[in-house]
């Protein structure tokens, strides 16, 4: 391939991406790069469009401007067929797990294998059990999704996301609403899977400590812009007021505690 090493190291590259919903601008010309084999985190407060960004990478939404290159394919210029081919190599872990509720755990993980491969049932069984073993839920294969705890559902979804041995996984808020033990398990799993399977991981999260503990590189986004980027240490020691407020969870700072409103006294007196 004529491209240099630069191209080879970057698996996903977002350039000058703009996206708006209605009149609200969610991204204003942002550029991000995701290195192969690394865990890259995208952090930012709720409502900054982190999930939207994952949907843009997966080609479920179309940007107004800019491009998303995944493994040298421009996602939004691919035909539907090639996009589906590309998606087979991208795993995504939804916040809710998005397990199919009419199938048990085993069938959920077998689903992508049965849809996309012509493997025998015996082979599928071995693969499913291997994936379940990896997330520690081989014993839960006969449970239905509504019998799983939130943490277990996410682990099953993770097993399903790696069923087709993808090149990358996108995690949408993997740590939200987890008890400390499930949280520890998930952090451990994401790190391990990335190393052992040689994946590229993109984590979208606002759980600062957990994410910073496993990420190789962090982007902090807010208001449609990248407001800070670097390794976890660089972010930790950032001299941007904004990044500091976010990383330390201060109630007041550049992001004000109060939603914009007119003067308090004036507001109270305006009816008198």
């Amino acid at each position: 391939m004529p491209e240099g090493t630069q191209v080879d190291e970057t698996l996903v590259s977002i350039k000058n991406l703009s996206f708006s919903r209605g009149t609200r601008k969610i991204f204003d010309s942002i550029s991000l790069d995701f290195q192969r084999g690394k865990i890259t985190a995208i952090m930012g407060p709720s409502g900054t469009g982190k999930t939207t960004l994952l949907k843009l990478i997966g080609g479920q939404l179309k940007p107004d401007q800019g491009s998303v290159i995944v493994d040298q394919n421009n996602v939004h210029q691919l035909s539907l067929k090639s996009l589906y081919q590309l998606r087979k190599r991208m795993g995504m872990l939804f916040q809710s797990g998005a397990l199919l509720t009419d199938m048990n755990v085993y069938d959920n993980i077998a689903f992508p294998l049965r849809e996309h491969t012509a493997l025998s049932e015996a082979m599928i069984r071995s693969l499913v059990l291997m994936k379940l073993q990896a997330v520690g839920l081989r014993g839960a294969r006969n449970l239905m999704p509504n019998e799983l705890s939130g943490g277990m559902a996410r682990r099953v979804a993770l097993a399903r996301a790696i069923a087709l041995d993808p090149m990358m996984i996108m995690y949408d808020e993997p740590f939200t609403g987890q008890d400390p033990i499930s949280l520890g398990v998930l952090v451990e799993l994401i790190k391990k899977l990335n190393t052992i399977l040689g994946l590229t991981s993109i984590i979208v999260s606002h759980d600062v400590q957990e994410t910073a503990s496993i990420a190789d590189y962090i982007y902090v986004i807010s208001g449609g812009h990248v407001v800070g980027q670097g390794t976890p240490e660089e972010i930790e020691n950032s001299n941007s007021e904004w990044v500091r407020q976010f990383m330390h969870g201060n109630a007041d700072g550049p992001v004000p505690f109060h939603y914009p409103a007119k003067d308090y006294i004036e507001d109270l007196l305006s009816y008198l």
């Binding site: 949907k55 997966g58 479920q60 589906y84 081919q85 998606r87 087979k88 991208m90 795993g91 995504m92 939804f94 916040q95 809710s96 998005a98 397990l99 199919l100 509720t101 689903f111 992508p112 849809e115 996309h116 979804a157 399903r160 087709l164």
Partner: protein, 260 residues
């Protein structure tokens, strides 16, 4: 006045946009036919959920509608001394009108609303989106089998409704009110035409099956993915299906029987 015009305009635009989305959705669904032919198991499973589970309500309702027709028909016809024509009256009303229409209304209430709620909830819980990310087209994998199941089931259910209704009419007319059994059946055979009566009823039920399945699945797919959105979509399915069935019934009847 300007406000009113503006609202009317917005309503028209929204309706047109929805019709456009619905048509694209229908095209996409129909293109899933090839996948279904390759994997008939998906369709058979849905035939059970959509068709077989609606069977009981159709049969019970058909029986009662037929019994009522027998009773009402007998009292009207006996005024003219024409009780022997009860068989024709019951069968013609059922086969031409009540079978397709009432079966379609019951179908929309039983199977249509269930489909809308199911698809709407799958959307709300990101199952459809998750499937897309697994490179599985949810319209082809989830929607198309349900659509064809509804499309196939309704004509069969409507035929069953008419058949059971005729038996109900016979039970009341012949069994309770003493209409001659021979003339009940022979008049029916002599006066019902295969093409004009039976086939026209079948065509109606095919059209209704197509439209009610389309409405139910599209409302689910187009639902706002919240609990409230799904509940409103389910209501819309039943209401819109009822309007569509009754309106189309008038149009089809006018087209089929208009030139006599």
């Amino acid at each position: 006045m300007i406000q009113l015009t503006r609202q009317l305009g917005r309503f028209t635009l929204q309706s047109l946009a929805k019709l456009g989305r619905g048509s694209l959705f229908l095209g996409h669904t129909l293109s899933g036919l090839t996948d279904i032919l390759l994997r008939p198991g998906l369709l058979i499973r849905q035939l059970y959920f959509v068709g077989v589970l609606t069977f009981l309500i159709i049969v019970i309702s058909g029986l009662f509608v037929g019994m009522v027709l027998g009773l009402q028909g007998y009292y009207t016809l006996s005024d003219f001394g024409a009780e022997e024509s009860l068989g024709v009256m019951v069968a013609a009303s059922l086969v031409r009108e009540l079978g397709p229409v009432v079966a379609a209304l019951l179908f929309a209430g039983r199977a249509g609303s269930a489909l809308t709620a199911e698809i709407g909830l799958m959307k709300a819980t990101e199952q459809l989106s998750g499937m897309e990310m697994m490179a599985v087209d949810p319209v082809k994998r989830i929607i198309a089998p349900r659509f064809f199941a509804g499309f196939i089931s309704l004509p069969i259910l409507a035929a069953l409704f008419s058949a059971v209704g005729i038996l109900g009419g016979e039970m009341v007319g012949v069994g309770l009110l003493g209409v001659d059994e021979g003339s009940f059946w022979s008049q029916m055979q002599a006066n019902l035409d295969f093409y004009d009566d039976i086939m026209n009823g079948v065509i109606k039920s095919i059209v209704f099956g197509f439209v009610t399945s389309w409405i139910a699945l599209f409302e689910g797919y187009d639902a706002i993915p919240t609990s409230e959105g799904v509940s409103r979509a389910t209501t819309r399915t039943v209401v819109n299906s009822a309007f569509a069935v009754l309106g189309l019934d008038f149009l089809l009847t006018a087209m089929m029987f208009g030139d006599d």
